[in-house]
Subunit: 132 residues, 2 copies
């Protein structure tokens, strides 16, 4: 496999990570996602990692990078379907996952993104909180 | 990878095929999908094959099987994101893809499923056309 497919779903993009994110694949995903956000003016990115059993610092960093890149382009990132063991590993590795929101599953993640979309649509609310 | 993740999105299920569907993986996907349709009473299955470059008769048969199994459980199957070369190969292989609907992308596929959902919701329309 040479690239991870990115699915457009309304104002959001959906990525299902099913394989190990080795170097080239991860960099390709980053650039593809940024290009897609730019092209479709997407407001949110959903990354499903339900089939990821093993996480390392590289994977954690990639997710953090994607979230920060998306945020600059005014899109929120929600990582969904994280397995409990992966959550434990991420914390034990000391990875902060800055700017990454999480939800239990795709549906809840999409609800979260819709809420964020409504929040930013409200007049007078132009804050871009990166500290979440 | 030992299984392909199935994402629940409202009344539909979404599967992104990113790797070769070898024997065990394909059988696992079939049984997982049927179990998910049963559990969530799903009305449609979306299968994204946009990252599938090479298709063989086995893959074609698996897609046909999934569509027929889903149909028995009252769910429609839409295969989306098929690459032109894959469409050519499927026809040249003489695979009928019985019961499989196709759409260009996930959004159009979801619209198609929503139309089908409305069609079957209408009173007096209880036909189950398998010949499509």
């Amino acid at each position: 496999m040479d690239k991870i497919p990115i699915l457009k779903m309304g104002p959001f993009l959906l990525v299902t990570v099913q394989v190990d994110l080795y170097d080239r694949l991860a960099l390709g995903l980053e650039s593809d996602l940024v290009a897609m956000i730019n092209k479709h003016e997407s407001k949110g990115v959903l990354i499903d990692i339900s089939s990821v059993n093993i996480v390392d610092s590289f994977m954690g960093r990639i997710l953090g990078n994607i979230a920060q890149m998306s945020r600059i382009l005014d899109a929120h990132t929600v990582v969904v379907g994280m397995q409990p063991a992966v959550a434990i590993t991420l914390i034990e590795l000391g990875l902060p996952m800055t700017g990454v929101h999480t939800s239990l599953n795709v549906e809840k993640g999409m609800e979260l993104l819709k809420e964020k979309l409504l929040d930013t649509d409200e007049p007078g609310n132009n804050s871009h909180d990166n500290s979440e």
